[in-house]
């Protein structure tokens, strides 16, 4: 086959044009995640915590199936990004692993809310954090707060330390070093876990709760929940913390609350939300909780994620959509769906009713 003198460059041009147009086609075909803002009336955009990403996907799928014509996008870019997008008005609701602080709240601070409206913090996702371990010959482990904090702070370094042995009668603990694995990336799981240690063992755990694991305490770091679970599974004599649903095959330590030993079950985790008080000085329907991590019968290491919404939306359609969608998410049905899809702990009926009342107040 002969190639004419013009044919080759033309073919090259054609190929280049094809490639370029293919790129362009990709860009436009890419579904906009969250940034659509005030597009169509039946479109709702949310952004925030990746912890409840699986639950959000389930809620969205269920809600869209039940309401044709409604499109909801949730982009799991992280709690901080979600709060920022909600403040700027890029999204109509945000997911966050912590409620807005007092100084962040106020009238006329949120893009999608009217000038006289404040934001509401509504707990819609509760998930127990398991302390996972992989120790030769150890099936069950019981840890009191001081011991657990000591292990993660690096002050208890051997598995046969008398402090661990004291609460584990009849268990043969190996004379081996402890490798404590924590998250290397910023995470709401770390925040809630360190908050628990700080509340329950303030003498040992001297650092305040934070998304970043305090570097002063050392230990092994791994990126993301799955990598922590992986490091604990493949390593020797390891311990770590992760979302309970993500670490089913590993041993879950029992934590001491008062005189009880509790496992990370859904019921015990949901109890903490009931036993916690709403932060003082909040609006009538705001449900930002001061988690009480030393409450009886309640598993203390729990992650609570909030939906951040407006009291009064600028756009009545947005308000109706948010009421419908977040209302479904917080309902018994929605909570059950999330428990099945994401392994979360369903809200108790009391808390569910409180959230429903708050949602009713949205205008």
């Amino acid at each position: 086959m002969k190639i004419s003198s013009i044919g080759a460059p033309v073919a090259l041009f054609a190929a280049a044009a094809l490639t370029l147009s293919a790129c362009a086609a990709n860009e436009t075909a890419n579904p906009g995640t969250g940034a659509s803002g005030t597009a169509a009336a039946s479109t709702l955009a949310g952004k925030g915590a990746s912890s409840m990403s699986a639950a959000q996907q389930k809620w969205i799928a269920d809600y869209q199936a039940a309401h044709s014509g409604v499109t909801i996008n949730y982009s799991p870019d992280g709690s901080g990004a979600g709060r920022e997008a909600f403040i700027s008005g890029a999204v109509q609701y945000a997911g966050s692993d912590r409620p807005f602080k007092d100084e962040e709240l106020g009238k006329d601070k949120f893009g999608e809310c009217t000038a006289e409206s404040n934001a509401l913090n509504l707990p819609i996702y509760v998930s127990p954090i398991a302390v996972i371990f992989n120790v030769d010959g150890v099936e069950e482990l019981k840890l009191d707060p001081d011991t657990l904090a000591g292990i993660f702070a690096g002050t208890i370094t051997k598995w046969n330390d008398p402090k661990i042995a004291a609460t584990n009668d009849g268990v043969t603990l190996p004379d081996a070093s402890i490798t404590a694995v924590h998250r290397s990336d910023d995470s709401g799981t770390t925040n809630n876990f360190t908050d628990y240690l700080n509340q329950a063992a303030p003498k040992v755990w001297t650092e305040a709760a934070s998304d970043t694991f305090p570097t002063a305490f050392g230990g092994e770091a791994a990126k993301g929940t799955s990598a922590v679970v992986d490091a604990v599974t493949t390593g020797k004599n390891t311990i770590g913390y992760a979302d309970a649903s993500a670490a089913k095959d590993l041993g879950h330590a029992q934590l001491k609350v008062g005189e009880q030993w509790l496992s990370p079950t859904a019921e015990a985790a949901a109890k903490i939300v009931d036993d916690s008080e709403v932060l003082p000085g909040r609006a009538e329907h705001d449900l930002a909780l001061k988690l009480n991590r030393v409450s009886k019968d309640a598993y203390p290491a729990v992650l609570v994620s909030y939906a951040l919404v407006c009291e009064i939306y600028k756009d009545a359609n947005d308000a109706a959509l948010v009421k419908g969608f977040i209302g479904y998410a917080a309902s018994a049905e929605g909570q059950k769906a999330a428990a099945e899809a994401a392994g979360s702990a369903p809200l108790s009926s009391t808390m569910s009713a409180k959230v429903a009342a708050a949602i009713d107040s949205i205008k």
Partner: protein, 327 residues
């Protein structure tokens, strides 16, 4: 491509290389191709300038904010924040090169001068195949297979060679240490160094080699006298390319290394200096506000480090060229 000249039934006098005939009618193909080639050259410069511009603009808020304000917001001062990661980047690459270079040159020499021809070509393919493995696969392999496998070896090193600063400290229970990350990096840069060195070794003039053999040199002496001096510049540039990859490698390190913001010589412990690229990958997804700028400023630092490394490589290559056996 001979058909191209045949089809344009025009007899042009063959121009001498020194004095091209300017009057020869320019063909449309020539114009299009020279335009495309020039365009590509300009594009790469433009892209580089745009990347540098993006880094500078986005990094500016983090660099311009006063240290006190950064401290107050919990980000930490920029230079004390970036220093451990810059150290980790360079340190991990150093160990990777230390392990990869001798092996890579060994493989390259084996392929070019020792192996039977058939084995040599298939071995070359296998090495090139290694370069095609995505880094995320190396990361998974490193964290799930390699780390647990080498952990007992680390315990041994720590027990018996713990007096050497590198091997001291409390060894990690998972094996996800700087040394493991460096081994993964070494495997990843092996094909680059091997392929380039092999090509250079194959270019050694046969006359040089035969002359050495004729003087009674053994094969090793011939390689030492003829092949290695000739290939020195090539080896250095291949090593620098490998180093460039090791410095910038993100995914594999992020998955394998148990990183922390520390500066240490120890390579077997749980607390390893993280690399800049891995820090960006780990923290960017959930970063917002000034944190984003801080991470991009970290990227700018990495950009500068690689630029410096490349310049040094250029310098070395141009210096060695004059002394190579090639002239």
């Amino acid at each position: 491509m001979t058909s191209v000249t045949q089809s344009t039934r025009e007899v042009t006098p063959t121009p001498t290389p020194e004095h091209p005939v300017n009057k020869a009618r320019e063909r449309i193909g020539d114009r299009v191709f020279s335009g495309l080639a020039t365009g590509s050259g300009v594009t790469i410069l433009l892209i580089l300038a745009m990347v540098a511009g993006f880094l500078l603009v986005q990094a500016f808020p983090a660099l311009a904010t006063s240290p006190a304000e950064l401290e107050a917001k919990g980000y930490g001062q920029f230079w004390s924040w970036i220093l451990p990661f810059a150290w980790g980047t360079v340190y991990a690459s150093f160990w990777a090169l230390l392990m990869a270079v001798p092996v890579a040159i060994g493989i390259a020499l084996f392929i070019s001068h020792y192996a039977p021809r058939r084995l040599a070509s298939s071995l070359g393919y296998v090495i090139d195949l290694l370069a095609a493995v995505p880094s995320v696969v190396f990361g998974l392999w490193g964290s799930m297979v390699l780390a647990p496998a080498v952990q007992p070896l680390y315990l041994w090193l720590n027990t018996y060679l713990g007096w050497i600063p590198f091997f001291s400290g409390q060894p990690s229970g998972t094996g996800r240490t700087l040394l493991t990350a460096s081994i993964v990096l070494a495997v990843m840069i092996l094909p680059i160094i091997t392929s380039l060195s092999r090509e250079v070794f194959l270019q050694t003039p046969v006359l040089h080699q035969e002359a050495a053999l004729a003087l009674g040199a053994t094969r090793w002496e011939m390689i030492k006298m003829a092949v290695l001096p000739f290939g020195r510049a090539g080896i250095v540039s291949s090593v620098m390319l490998g180093l460039g990859r090791a410095l910038g490698e993100t995914m594999a390190v992020a998955m394998v290394l148990s990183g922390a913001p520390v500066i240490t010589l120890e390579i077997l412990t749980s607390q390893n200096p993280n690399t800049i690229a891995a820090v960006i990958a780990q923290n960017f997804p959930e970063a917002y506000g000034l944190k984003t700028n801080q991470l991009i400023a970290g990227g700018l630092t990495l950009f500068v480090i690689t630029l410096v490394v490349n310049s040094i490589a250029r310098l070395i290559v141009s210096r060695y060229k004059e002394f190579s056996g090639a002239n």
